[in-house]
């Protein structure tokens, strides 16, 4: 909370106000309130089915909320397609299963967004792509197809693909859950670097080590509600809520 106050001089880059969401008549998200300041790193955790993925998917409108407001970078998410496209171009998303485009080379995966959404000339887009491939340490794979590299490398490509759009915010939806254990570190390392660079990040993950080193705030969700939020040390050492205690005792 202290940290938030420190950074609270600017306008929050994401504001979620009294947001509710239903899948048919199943109430998945209940009265979500969240303000994210620029450069803030937030880790969201909670048992499966708690609505954490759904919440971050609402931030770039992969899911539609039914009540309340979501304002991203000054643009409110409504049915207006133009607004949705503006927000999506500013918000990068990394998925559990990478979702690279298998019919395009890694380089083409990276240049697609810049060329078609940002209207960057092809040459410039390729330079940008190579720059970010270097940042994720795999420039030598540029001309391969996604199916030809390992899971960890695919996820790093996916991160680079999002970065090529030069987003203001990055969302990570369980980025390491589908990876073999020996590949988790290489992806987390890239994410830690990114955090050091000052990227605004919301990360849904079970990697508590990552949460401890990187997060400014940890949010615990259960049954579609934000149960508890705190800065990591306080969160892990002194969880307030019974459900948080139970959850932490199960995973740590």
């Amino acid at each position: 909370m202290e940290k938030q106050a420190e950074q609270g001089n600017g306008r929050p880059v994401i504001e979620i106000i009294e947001m509710h969401k239903w899948f048919d008549d199943f109430h998945v998200l209940k009265d979500i309130n969240l303000r994210v300041q620029p450069q803030e790193r937030i880790v969201v955790c909670g048992p499966s089915g708690s609505g954490k993925s759904t919440m971050i998917r609402c931030i770039n409108r992969l899911e539609e909320h039914q009540r309340g407001k979501i304002i991203v970078n000054g643009t409110e998410l409504t049915r207006d397609l133009k607004n949705i496209e503006i927000v999506r171009a500013e918000v990068g998303m990394v998925f559990q299963h990478f979702n690279l485009f298998p019919h395009l080379t890694i380089l083409e995966n990276l240049t697609l967004g810049p060329i078609w959404v940002r209207k960057t000339p092809k040459k410039e887009a390729e330079e940008l792509a190579m720059h970010y491939l270097e940042i994720v340490h795999i420039p030598e794979q540029a001309n391969k197809y996604p199916g030809q590299v390992s899971g960890g490398q695919q996820q790093r490509v996916a991160i680079a693909r999002s970065l090529c759009m030069r987003p203001k915010i990055m969302l990570f939806d369980e980025p390491t859950s589908a990876l073999d254990p020996e590949m988790i570190k290489e992806v987390l390392d890239v994410m830690v670097d990114l955090a050091k660079e000052g990227m605004t990040m919301i990360v849904v993950t079970h990697e508590m080590g990552f949460a401890k080193t990187v997060a400014d705030r940890v949010i615990f969700m259960d049954f579609g509600e934000i149960v508890e939020e705190n800065e990591p040390n306080a969160f892990f050492d002194n969880p307030q809520h019974e459900r948080t205690q139970l959850f932490l005792s199960q995973i740590l």
């Binding site: 992969l62 496209e85 999506r88 998925f95 019919h103 967004g113 391969k144």
Partner: protein, 365 residues
Amino acid sequence: MTTSQPQTEAVKPPLTNVGVLGWIRNNLFNGYFNSLATILIVLALWQLVPDFIQWAFIDSVWFTSGKECHQAQGACWSVVTQNIRFNIFGYYPYEEQWRPLLAMIILVGMLFYSRDWKRWSRRLGYLWLAALFVMGVLMKGGLFGLMPVESTKWSGLPLTLLLSFFGILASYPLGVVLALGRQSSLPIIKAFCVVYIELIRGVPLITLLFMSSVMFPLFLPEGVTIDKVLRAQMAIILFTAAYIAEVVRGGLQALNTGQYEAAESLGLTYWQKMRLIILPQALKIVIPPTVGVLISAFKDTSLVVIIALYDILNTTKSILNVPEWTGFSTEAYIFVALIYFFCCYAMSTYSRTIEKQLEYTSNIK
């Protein structure tokens, strides 16, 4: 093997598993049932093949009149050779038949040149437009001193190729659009596409051809007529598109939702997402069934016989109605079958080539 050391000496497989002997054993005689099947098939071929060769080649006559044919023991290929021009060109004026021949050569030549999609460019597009114009002028005439020929006189192979080429060319994109429409979140577009697809798939092509030829003109104001070939063409296009649409929809559904989400989260618009991400993958998945639909469309053009258009199957029938040539339907139909087979086989081979080229590992630098 108790040792964990890698074996240095290569162990060869038993002799009966490799080479000709191995192949025969693995493919022809692996088990009682297959051995029995092999023997039966060989016996059947032994009985049939020599007789067929005797009939088709040794006892056959090739360039005789119908009368001599009736006395021959073997096949009467004369029914094909003596009537070849009518069979291929039908009622197109005899003196002018070089025109559809040239048009077909241009069409086949252009198709052959365009087979490699790496050659596809804007320039090739213009070339196609020019080629289509030239083919149109050749067929229809009335320009550059060419004698005008009514489209009702177009018949035989040129008609078959015309109906199939434009049928395939137009129905494929239309089918893709219908498939996208059926997946649309806009209810009116979706409803329209569903109703269209289900209605068209619910009736046989013959019904559509009948409607286009008999009923449709009744709705037109007096004095307005639309070319009969064009109406048949429309019926074929509308019919095939509905089938293509369902095949493509299968491809769209086969794609992981993650592909849609990744494309959307980059901020691509709907059309960019479809054109760059979804369709290239979905259409590739459904190449085999798509080619199936297109091949049936090609063969279905023979149904235009029902509205008195003379495609190549119908010109063949007319030849067999001439008393001199009655009774040689086997030979005549074998010839037509070969033409159909050649075209279908070309389509199917081409589709497999494309599939191979589109494999995601094909062009590593």
